[in-house]
């Protein structure tokens, strides 16, 4: 029989600053945390997107030593800081985590280091390549640095599955605990948003643009949506077995009830597909693993980001899963936090722990095709069951079901 898996700590850093309290405040306010991207390098088109949900400077001093700050890439710094916040939240010292698993998702890896290294190689020649830049250019650098910082000697996994990564990481970590390969896990996601990455996402047509319909903003489920706001940051959680928590005497924030994933092979490499019926079957199967039906879900924390096609697929999947029944309240935190980083995961944990859900930033006009009007920020009873969703461009999909501890 699988053990009970509890979520005992959360740490986040992003456009909202450092700490899940700040994320909770931002989500309650329901205002996008966008700021101007540095376009000085000339990567952007003149008419291109200008805004992203960027981590303000000076957030990590409390969490990293000067030596760590010097040697780590930006995503490693974000991830280690968020991991330490999560450990503190869980009431753990976080320095001797023998046997603890580390599972971290990243969509793009350490982009600053990769860009710097490529410039050295292409502009100055390969012998100019910096060993320290290279060391921290690998996708698993954040997971490795967390493991080193916490002395976490359990399995170390890095998941790269774009927007589905954060929930896949949570599910993979839960699987490590369920299989008895670890009694504790640090799981989450991290990404940085460099000017180059921002410009390239914009050239792909993925980002929100200003238009006659309004200023540049993510508008999840809104009729006027035209792309997402790119985000950055990290969200890490501590998972433990109930038995392990009982032995050390801590408290839980939420329970991981189920996790699942699927793929839509109709999706093009950079877009969402049309396979909502199959995805809905897998979503229902995920709920079924916890003995749940759609009617048992009290709140959906949706990965909808304001993407034209992504939100459409998300709505179709949810509608197909619920059939004729009404959907529970749906909230879309990426309107506040942006896409990528740790916003979705952090928001999901906060919601499951009873933190108030604010209005979905950017939403004003329902899209009749989608048939979803996200939660308006009015008071909700604390949910007993929260479904968290994330559909990735390229076809991947992941769900996690959280419950009361």
């Amino acid at each position: 029989m699988s053990p009970d898996i509890l979520l005992t700590g959360v740490g986040t850093v992003g456009a909202w600053g450092a700490g899940s309290d700040r994320l909770a405040q931002a989500l309650a306010a329901g205002t996008a945390l966008a700021s101007e991207v540095d376009r000085a390098a000339g990567y952007h088109r003149p008419e291109g997107a200008r805004l992203a949900c960027l981590t303000p400077p000076g957030q990590l001093g409390e969490w990293l030593s000067p030596a760590e700050s010097r040697r780590m890439s930006p995503p490693s710094k974000l991830a280690v800081a968020a991991a330490r916040m999560a450990m503190r939240c869980a009431g753990l010292p976080g320095r001797d985590e023998a046997g603890t698993a580390t599972v971290v998702a990243t969509a793009f890896g350490p982009s600053t280091n990769t860009e710097g290294l490529l410039k050295q190689i292409l502009n100055e020649g390969p012998e100019a390549a910096s060993p320290s830049l290279f060391t921290e250019s690998v996708a698993n650098a954040p997971a490795a640095q967390i493991a080193i910082a916490c002395k976490a000697t359990g399995p170390s996994l890095t998941v790269c599955q774009r927007e589905a990564g954060p929930l896949l990481a949570l599910g993979s970590a839960a699987a490590e605990l369920a299989a008895g390969r670890a009694r504790r896990a640090l799981a989450g996601s991290v990404d940085e948003m460099t000017p180059l990455l921002h410009a390239l996402l914009d050239r792909f047509g993925a980002l929100a643009r200003g238009s006659s319909a309004g200023e540049e903003a993510a508008r999840p489920f809104d009729r006027r949506r035209n792309g997402f706001l790119a985000g950055e940051g990290a969200g890490l959680v501590v998972l433990e077995t109930a038995e392990g928590l009982r032995e050390r005497g801590g408290r839980a924030l939420a329970r991981v009830l189920a996790w699942g994933s699927a793929f839509d092979p109709t999706a093009a490499v950079t877009n969402w597909g049309t396979g909502h019926q199959s995805l809905a079957r897998h979503l229902l199967r995920t709920l079924g693993r916890a003995g749940l039906a759609p009617a048992d879900v009290d709140l959906i924390v949706s990965g909808a980001s304001g993407s034209r096609e992504g939100d459409r697929l998300e709505a179709r999947v949810l509608r197909a899963a619920w059939g004729d029944a009404p959907l529970p309240p749906v909230t879309a935190p990426k309107g506040v936090t942006g896409e990528y980083g740790g916003g979705l995961l952090g928001a999901a944990v906060l919601a499951a722990a009873g933190s108030p859900c604010g209005p979905t930033a950017g939403f004003a006009e329902p899209d009749p095709e989608l048939g979803i009007v996200p939660h308006d920020g009015s008071g909700l009873p604390p949910p007993a069951t929260v479904l968290v969703t994330s559909l990735a461009a390229g076809g991947a999909a992941a769900w996690v079901v959280l419950g009361r501890p």
């Binding site: 390969p126 060391t135 690998v138 080193i148 790269c160």
Partner: protein, 417 residues
């Protein structure tokens, strides 16, 4: 009566098909033929201009078979790593006797490892982008993502179940196989397509050269003169199914994937823990998962990069697990012939481990180099060696960042035959 040897904990999981691409050829047959002969692929290469790099050797995969790409309407958008992955997946599915694409009823998933995905193409884009923003074709970048090879396989096979790419550097492929094993054992899927793909690119070539981790001659794992790794490229894919499913549909298992284990050194970003503690933990976890004692292992397909520190740490790990047997148990060092395939090395070495079990023969590496008196191992050299020990083996993958993975395979024995 049919049964698996050392079928592992939980329901037995069979390898029903495999496919491979590497410097020794496109397909498993040329790979095994060259390995048996101890013939390596590490030599001059043309993937990119390496004139200004510190070293000048790699095991480059040649051109694909002439008609292979015709099956892919989107071929112009496929990265080299995608092409490796798709070839290996099609070969694996064909050997397993499964259709590609799968029928819509089969619960299937894809678990893949990759270190850099389409970085080679990304470099080409970035070079053009730095030169002229307007001329650089953004579509080239679409295949850059690390998850692109695994996704390409899933898309091609029409997979609707779980799809996950793991990117834990050199352990990625082995970790992907471990995750796939979980999914088959638990009943989450009936068919798991698992492996890895990576192509040569300047970023990793220059990066490892900057670390002075690349040998100027073909790598010499566990030898006294070893001076670093050699790069390779390619892909390997294994099809995993419940043993009873393979037998029920009249298939023939190639081997049993009996166990998987993973750990982290939590020691240093690039240097392994010299005590070998972390690597040993992965090995012990894999044996525990397989329900086998160390004595049941007949040979080890070592990570064996040929770097002074890695081989020394791996030997310490072998001593921790095998005790005095660490100096006797035969070691197979595949990287000496195909180079280091980074995120796909664990998958390719899994295929090689199975080939050794199937044919009862351990492939050699070139002889001649003096042994390291500090590492008195029984490296298979010069001539193939009959597998006269236990019909089970372990393959290790020890990565950058301290991520370790180990896989235990056992020979399939058809007792009815």
């Amino acid at each position: 009566m049919v049964s698996g040897e050392a079928a592992g904990t939980g329901r037995p999981v069979a390898v029903s098909g495999f496919g491979a691409v590497c410097g020794l050829g496109w397909g498993v047959a040329p790979l095994w033929e060259a390995l048996r002969a101890g013939r390596g692929a590490i030599g001059p290469f043309r993937r990119f201009d390496h004139t200004e790099h510190r070293t000048h050797l790699a095991a480059e995969a040649g051109e694909p078979p002439a008609d292979f790409l015709r099956a892919f309407p989107e071929r112009k958008r496929l990265s080299i790593a995608d092409r490796f992955a798709l070839f290996a997946a099609r070969e694996a599915m064909a050997q397993a006797g499964l259709p590609a694409p799968l029928d819509g009823e089969t619960e299937a998933g894809v678990w893949f490892g990759s270190s850099t995905g389409g970085m080679f193409e990304s470099e080409e884009f970035f070079r053009e982008f730095l030169r002229d923003r307007r001329r650089a074709r953004i579509s080239v970048l679409a295949a850059q993502q690390v998850n692109a090879p695994g996704d390409a396989v899933a898309r091609h096979l029409g997979v609707t179940g779980p799809v996950r790419t793991l990117s834990s550097a050199c352990a990625s492929g082995a970790l992907a196989l471990g995750a796939a094993l979980d999914a088959v054992r638990s009943g989450e899927v009936e068919v798991a397509v698992a492996g890895g793909a990576d192509s040569l690119c300047q970023l990793t070539y220059a990066g490892f050269n900057a670390l002075r981790s690349v040998d100027e001659t073909p790598c010499r794992p566990f030898r006294a003169c070893r001076a670093g790794m050699s790069f390779g490229e390619g892909a390997a894919v294994l099809v995993l199914e419940p043993l009873e499913r393979v037998l029920a549909r009249g298939g023939r298992p190639l081997a049993i994937l009996a166990g998987a284990g993973a750990s982290c050194d939590a020691h240093h970003m690039t240097a392994p823990d010299p005590s070998g503690t972390g690597a040993a933990a992965a090995l012990e976890a894999a044996l525990r998962d397989a329900g086998l004692p160390a004595e049941a292992i007949g040979f080890v397909n070592v990570h064996g990069t040929g770097t002074p520190l890695n081989d020394a740490a791996e030997f310490q790990a072998l001593r921790r697990v095998f005790g005095e047997r660490a100096v006797e148990i035969p070691l197979v060092a595949t990287k000496a012939l195909v180079g280091h395939l980074l995120g796909s090395s664990g998958a390719l070495e899994a295929v090689v481990t199975i080939l050794c079990l199937m044919y009862g023969e351990l492939h050699p590496v070139p002889g001649g180099a003096a042994p390291d008196p500090e590492l008195p191992v029984a490296l298979v050299q010069e001539e193939p060696r009959p597998l006269d020990g236990a019909p089970a083996a372990v393959s290790t993958s020890l990565a950058f960042g301290g991520s370790n993975a180990a896989l235990v395979f056992s020979r399939w024995v058809d007792r009815a035959a």
